[in-house]
């Protein structure tokens, strides 16, 4: 595996607010050009989930949701809006843990995460309407589409990673995680490679796209949408391409679900 020596992450400045139906690849490309940040082969464009979801029209008006009895009961337990809980359940295949102020589910895409990744922050209230924002329908496909469009526009071979902030079972605080990826190995399997002293590494699978997402999150922050696109340059990535879904531990392997 080639080593990365000099890695640079640049936030794309003055990214516009994104609305449903916007052509996100065009917005990202335009913002890169405006900033004089034309990408080159090997660069990774890291994109916050929120703007992907917004462009894909994944905002839902809470008032259009009717809570089922099950959602109402769970909402009372966790202390959330029953309509919000209904939306969480609709996006999920099972509730993993619930308690006051906490609702961890298995998202239909396989992610074990709080509130099915739905949040209410940084969604513009318009005309008094309360909106929530769901994850993209297929984040790996969203990443592949962005990758294709941007690689074509800039005449080079780019990678794209779509990130979200996840909590962890045994660690406090959230970190950036890759929910979608294209053009790079989300997971790098070093098993069978010799270590420095020639022994074979037993267990070494690296969550590369998750490390990329965490790095970019240092620039994206949480409190604003101000920097939802980050250009990462200098990453040596030569392993076979794998989507971000490969990072999801299958339920059958999972000891903690």
């Amino acid at each position: 595996m080639v080593a990365t020596h000099d890695l640079r992450l640049l936030a794309v400045p003055e990214f516009p607010l994104v609305r449903a139906g916007d052509d996100l690849a065009a917005l990202i490309g335009d913002a890169l050009v405006r900033a004089g940040m034309e990408p080159a082969t090997g660069d990774v464009i890291v994109v916050a989930q929120k703007i992907v979801s917004k462009a894909e029209g994944r905002e839902v008006d809470l008032a259009t949701i009717t809570a089922s009895p099950r959602a109402a009961e769970l909402a009372a337990e966790v202390g959330k809006d029953p309509r919000f809980v209904e939306a969480v359940l609709a996006e999920s295949v099972r509730v993993v843990r619930s308690r006051p102020n906490l609702l961890i589910v298995e998202h239909r895409l396989g992610f074990v995460m709080a509130n099915a990744g739905i949040d209410q922050s940084n969604v513009a209230p318009q005309d008094g309407v309360q909106r929530i924002l769901l994850l993209p329908c297929d984040p790996d496909a969203s990443a592949a589409s962005l990758r294709e469009r941007l690689s074509l526009r800039f005449g080079c071979d780019l990678a794209v990673v779509i990130t979200d902030s996840f909590g962890r079972a045994w660690r406090r605080g959230t970190v950036g995680i890759a929910i979608g990826a294209a053009g790079l190995a989300s997971m790098v399997d070093l098993r069978g490679q010799p270590d420095l002293f020639g022994r074979i590494l037993e267990v070494s699978i690296i969550g590369l796209a998750d490390e990329v997402a965490a790095a970019a999150s240092l620039l994206m922050g949480q409190a604003s949408e101000g920097q939802p696109v980050v250009l990462l340059r200098g990453l040596a990535h030569t392993a076979p391409e794998l989507p971000a879904s490969s990072l999801i531990r299958p339920a059958a392997e999972d000891l903690f679900r």
Copy 2:
């Protein structure tokens, strides 16, 4: 919170092999000077756990360990060397999960991790002796000591993060995690800060030091010790200092132990 716009990570080249008793602060300082990478105020020096443990003499000769009956029984279950399992148990307060080829424990420092963070790769075999490497006794203290020495040497205010690779409950692959930190806010609490539209963020605690560790891991790799020190420049970090131990979820809060 001030935003990070331009983040640069540089691997310190040609870092020497570290041996028990080495003055790690001097080795890191010398390597930075040799590379023309004198650090400046605000920089974060990210250091791989392995070289901290080696300098602190945390290598143990497997032949000096006698397995208890409990270790022998557990070793048979998980398919590992009984002396290795004895070392894992000695470093741990409880076994969280065990099954063939997997042993997850709560380390005495609070980390929930495989094999108590002990590994056998990249430990030089000498005279046919099989060595294992334990975590540093107190990684936050190790980070604080490195920070003090390096800040003094370079006449500036540095931060230090000590990283290790951790598996995750619901994600495949390992990512870099901060096991020790000094001079920065390992955890940044944004609760109570308004989002882009003026609403108050409900739950936003960022695992900043873990994101720093993950970013640096992109350069450190796994298969070699070649790049165990990374200089990170450009991180806007102004929140109150918190050690890496603040990132450990207390057992009482934990729903998955």
